[in-house]
Amino acid sequence: MIYAFRLPLINPHMSSARIECVYAEPGGALKNGSKLFDLGVDLSSAFAQECPPVSFFRVVLREPVFFRRLNADRGQLCQVGEQVALFSDKADACLDDAPVRDIRFAVAGIIHHEGMWTGRIA
């Protein structure tokens, strides 16, 4: 069975998020609890603010899956609902099949770190 990861609506005011980090390689088996992505959510299009309201989130798996395909690059801005990656329950499940559901994942607010696409200086 094929599972999808579509960019979730983490904040009701967001319309997109940037892929800050990708922690896994397509082709590998991932355990429950594995880190998948760090996302950057910039709300500056929703709010006029003194500084851009950017928050960072980590997506963590809540089930064991095989990582099959990544549809976005690090640094890419993805729209809410956009299919970012595909997973499967078996290593050789056919990717031509439509996803039966989204993968199970958890989202956690995180602190900006040096490995992120956004910003290079402390």
Partner: protein
């Protein structure tokens, strides 16, 4: 309907005559105004008595001086709008300040209990980041390294609050018109509000400590080092490089906590000491910041401000500085050092806006996915630990916690603090009230210094 003329009222600076522009209005004719709500303003200049020269030692650095007007009682303001207009509402020396000038009429529902004919005057002063930031639009316009305002009341000593926070303090203190209007309307009692922006240097504790301790020779070494890097660069510095480095030097040379102030009053200039209270943001304490490799001073430039630097200055930050990691305990030690130093130098009380520590945007069901210490990664845990540190510090030092964590949770974080740092108007009102409450007992202790 009772109608009362609104006089400009007395305003005096020792040894100077005060001149003003025409009046610019913030309301429509006949509009209802609350007591202490500013409804108009003018620019002013100080001119040495007997001369037509501008400038003064007390206010030499504050080239933007304005007076805003508020009624002492609620009512409709009529007569607003009959002014010269055009450039004559901008130029600071169109006419001399005359206390008897009537600028509008106040219409009241009932006979006032006290004199309402003298306007309440809110003084505004801005120290430009550069003299080139000569902007004429609205209240406290342009690019300032420091702005301040105070109620110009007779025979009172204002309590001063210096805001050294980031965004979670900026909106609360400056308000939507960026001229302290909401804060002063809420304050009522005599107060001075001072605001220093969070750029180019964000006010983390090590930066403020550096400012307090830096000697002129150390600053000169910093300036020489920066000049050397920009001059020796293989690529030509851009305008952004020079502007950013100039702003950095300005911030590095100052120590706002130690600033003393001159105030106009109806009867002359009053000199006060440093601020009685310092408003800080716990959210401005990063877990990593920059330290100069040889000179040892710290820099924390928020990411959205780093992009204002040109390529050479960014190269300077990357090559001349090293990244220093700070644990929660390091932050506690820095905070304690800062508070002790502040207490020793000025005696000011710290008011600290804590961190929002919960988020409806996450759904962690199992923490085993996150490596310890989790405060290194998870923002909610880092915020909770920082908030706890603040309580520990408050037990032993003069520190008031402005508990945005509790207030936002009470009002609803998703609606009123959607990204955890930028508040709604309602939340700002609640925080203003908390800040003013925390300053209440300072009022009796305030003295003209």
């Amino acid at each position: 309907m009772i109608r009362r003329p609104l006089h400009l009222g007395a305003l005096s600076a020792d040894g100077f005559s005060i001149h003003r522009s025409g009046i610019r209005w913030l309301i429509q004719p006949g509009q209802f105004c609350r007591a202490n709500q500013i409804f108009g303003y003018c620019n002013i200049s100080l001119q040495p008595a007997g001369f037509r020269l501008t400038g003064d030692k007390s206010f030499a650095e504050e080239t933007d001086l304005q007076v805003a007007f508020a009624p002492r009682a609620a009512g409709r303001i009529n007569g607003a709008g009959a002014e010269l207009g055009g450039y004559l509402s901008i130029q600071r020396d169109v006419c001399a300040w005359d206390a008897d000038t009537v600028i509008a009429q106040l219409e009241l529902e009932a006979e006032p209990e006290s004199d309402v004919e003298g306007l309440r005057l809110l003084m505004l002063a801005g120290r430009r980041m550069t003299g080139l930031a000569d902007v004429h639009s609205g209240l406290l316009p342009g690019w300032h390294g420091r702005t301040r305002g105070w109620w110009c009341d007779e025979r009172t000593v204002p309590v001063s609050l210096l805001s050294l926070g980031i965004c979670d303090a900026t909106g609360v203190v400056l308000g939507e018109q960026c001229a302290f209007a909401e804060m002063f309307e809420a304050a009522g009692a005599p107060a001075q509000m001072i605001f220093v922006p969070d750029h180019p240097l964000a006010p983390a504790a090590p930066i403020l400590l550096d400012q307090l301790d830096r000697k002129p020779a150390q600053f000169q070494a910093i300036a020489d080092d920066m000049h050397r890097f920009l001059s020796d660069s293989a690529i030509t510095p851009t305008a952004d490089d020079w502007i950013f480095s100039g702003a950095m030097l300005t911030a590095l040379q100052q120590s706002p906590i130690e600033d003393a102030y001159s105030l106009f009053t109806p009867s002359g200039t009053v000199r006060t000491g440093p601020a009685d209270a310092i408003l800080l943001s716990l959210s401005s304490e990063p877990q990593s910041l920059l330290r100069h490799k040889s000179l040892g001073y710290h820099a924390h430039i928020m990411r959205h401000h780093q992009s204002a630097a040109g390529p050479v200055f960014r190269a300077f930050l990357e090559s001349a500085f090293e990244t220093v990691k700070r644990s929660i305990d390091d932050i506690r030690l820095d905070y304690e050092k800062l508070l002790d130093r502040m207490h020793a130098v000025t005696g000011a009380r710290a008011l600290v806006i804590n961190c929002m520590s919960t988020s409806g945007h996450e759904d962690i069901s199992n923490y085993s996915s996150f490596d310890p210490p989790m405060s290194r990664t998870l923002s909610s845990i880092a915020s909770k630990e920082l908030n706890l540190v603040l309580h520990d510090i408050a037990e032993r030092r003069d520190l008031s916690i402005i508990d945005v964590d509790a207030i936002a949770a009470d009002l609803g974080g998703a609606e009123h603090l959607p990204d955890g740092i930028h508040q709604s108007g309602l939340l700002q009102v609640a925080l203003r009230s908390e800040i003013l409450h925390a300053m209440e007992d300072l009022r009796s202790a305030a003295q003209i210094k």
